[in-house]
């Protein structure tokens, strides 16, 4: 599937919905909170539908489409107004934007709903760059940072470019490229559970490549990749750790006062 390509972007809205994703909800809620703070700092009200759960991707990629559809369907009605739906994860955004229409292709009524929702889904960094059109004032000291974007983010949402352009706005941050930058980190959702030997080898190589850059930290716009790499590093008793892009941007720009 080709990356997002030329998408028509709307004007900056008054309000947005946040779809927090199940991984962020349970394992890295701070990333979600920092995404909210960044959006609010831009003067955008963030609506968080309390009944949201998961986009359905884990079942979909495991060969259980009925279960994936049921869970996806449960999200449809949570975004009744026409506001954009912001997803701080490339792979969940990719599922909602790229796969929902195909998942409901056999039911014209649901297909129409799926397509309407898909058209409003924005990956978080994509939204910051192209819709909110943020200007970031860097308030941190000099830092070398590596960037890992998830494969779904890269290939379905074009997120690597969005994340890179946001980081480029940070005056004292040097973004360093790692070897095999576009290669998968080995997370792959249930792949990491089903094929631990292969997944571990991929994660190990990714961690080595990130560390070899001499960066102090790495940034990812996907919680899944970040968790997989951070837990790999922890198992090695290595203090090198990654951060979600939202958290990194929020901290670098000094929180509330960070808007230029």
């Amino acid at each position: 599937m080709d990356a997002a390509g030329s998408r028509h972007y709307p004007e900056k809205p008054e309000k947005v919905y946040l779809f927090g994703t199940c991984l962020i909800d349970l394992f890295c809620p701070e990333a979600g909170m920092n995404a909210v703070r960044l959006l609010e700092r831009e003067g955008i009200e963030v609506l968080f539908p309390a009944d949201q759960t998961c986009c359905g991707q884990p079942a979909h990629s495991s060969g259980f489409p009925e279960q994936a559809r049921a869970v996806a369907l449960a999200q449809f009605r949570l975004f009744p107004e026409a506001w954009p739906v912001i997803v701080p994860s490339g792979s969940c955004a990719g599922t909602m934007r790229r796969h929902y229409p195909a998942m409901f292709a056999d039911d014209p009524r649901l297909l129409a709903q799926a397509t309407a929702l898909a058209e409003r889904v924005f990956e978080f960094s994509e939204f910051l760059v192209h819709v909110a059109r943020v200007t970031l004032g860097d308030q941190g000291g000099p830092a070398r940072v590596a960037l890992h974007t998830s494969c779904a983010a890269r290939r379905e949402m074009g997120t690597h470019e969005h994340a890179r352009s946001l980081l480029a706005q940070l005056a004292a941050v040097e973004v360093v490229l790692h070897e095999h930058e576009s290669e998968c980190c080995g997370f792959g959702g249930t792949f990491s559970l089903k094929h631990p030997a292969i997944s571990s080898a991929m994660a190990g190589d990714k961690v080595d490549a990130l560390k070899e850059t001499g960066a102090e930290t790495f940034v990812s716009a996907d919680c899944g990749c970040m968790l997989s790499l951070n837990h790999t590093l922890q198992k090695r008793r290595d203090g090198f750790q990654g951060q979600h892009l939202a958290t990194f941007l929020w901290q670098r720009t000094g929180g509330e006062g960070g808007r230029r």
Binding site: D25, A50, G63, L193, S200
Partner: protein, 477 residues
Amino acid sequence: MNSQPLSFVPASEFKQRAAAAVADDHLRKSFRGAMDFLINKRAAQFPDPAALESQRSLAEHIRKYSLARLPELLEQLEQKLVANGVQVHWAENAEEACAIIVGIARRHSTKLMVKGKSMVSEEVELNHAMADAGIEALESDMGEYIVQLDGEKPSHIIMPAIHKTREQIARLFAEKVPGAAYTDSVDELIGIGRAVLREKFMSAEVGLSGVNFAVAETGTLCLVENEGNGRMCTTVPDVHIAITGIEKVVEKLEHVPPLFGLLTRSATGQAITTYFNMISGPRKPDEKDGPGEMHLVLVDNGRTQAYSDEQMRSTLQCIRCGACMNHCPVYTRIGGHAYGTTYPGPIGEIISPHMLGLAATHVLPTASSLCGACGEVCPVRIPIPELLVRLREEAQHDARPGHAPMVGQGAAKSRLADAIWSGWAAMYTRPALYRAFGWLATRFRALTPPMQGGWTVSRTPMKPARRTLHELMAERE
């Protein structure tokens, strides 16, 4: 990694072999280096992304168009070939294909058959059948010659011996080639192989080749190669047998150049190969060279099953360039032998279930992180990740309306998996239940299991945060 036995080990033992391959630093380094080399060579051939996309679009359309008309094109191809003096044979499966070829060879009292590179001949395990019939089948592609000499199978569809180092090949030649002195010079090693093969080309009664494109309107078989051994196999022996899958047909000659150009660039990063053979029939009475007799064996072997499903039909668009495996992070880690199938890597994961059934192969489509690198580089735009997901689904379910049944349908079904995903859906469709789970998981985070299956093999356990995002957001209001 131990040397591969001559017959394939079952795909079902994939995980053990993958674990062994991953633990082999030497193998990993050599595959990584080789794949990087090929990735860079390919990239150098496609400097303009927009041009590449338009070439991919054209190639995709040619392949889709050919498949849409496959039955008529195959009939047309047969008529043209017969008119050109070629004998055409149809093989429904591997056994039939082997029986046809053994039969032809026996009619000519064949002692030696020289083979050009043909993955379909590997797929039907022709060398086995020939050995059983007491006929020597000798591989003449240098890579294939090396793996055959060592009793192995190819580990890559384009570069069969890519898993071997120069030193390993040097030792192998010194040990197995009669009269060969040890050398680790690549040129000298190739010289040794060529000297052996040159004699064999002259004495072989039958030459076998694959086919890259079969042109229906002219009855022309196109063969892409670099070593000239393909031309030797198809012109020196008095009998030429070509073998190919039924999907390789295109309608017109003009359909070949766009596919050829993408094939060589995607496969080896070459703008063109050293040899491109177009074979339209046996030697005519006024001609001085070429085989006196020519055959084409068209093999189904599960392709009709892929063909009969609208989505899975795209599997047959493949032109066998190998770019998907070169770019696959899984293939790069484990190499080709771990898959246990003729076709390794992403294309193998989507084609092998049709050839061998899902019962033997259902683990293969799960051996992907769905990173999408394969789909991104595929010159004919096969949506490989989507097909992997589809095959996972077929492996987990009985045949259903709207889905053509597959051999081995539902082979991965288990009550446990059904229960897990039904339970998962039950919770994730009930927001109150989901929030209650989040509340409990965060309050009792100290009780998170320290061993979490495959996850904790190389990672510390996942531990819920102190509060869910749901709670943190609710607290703000």
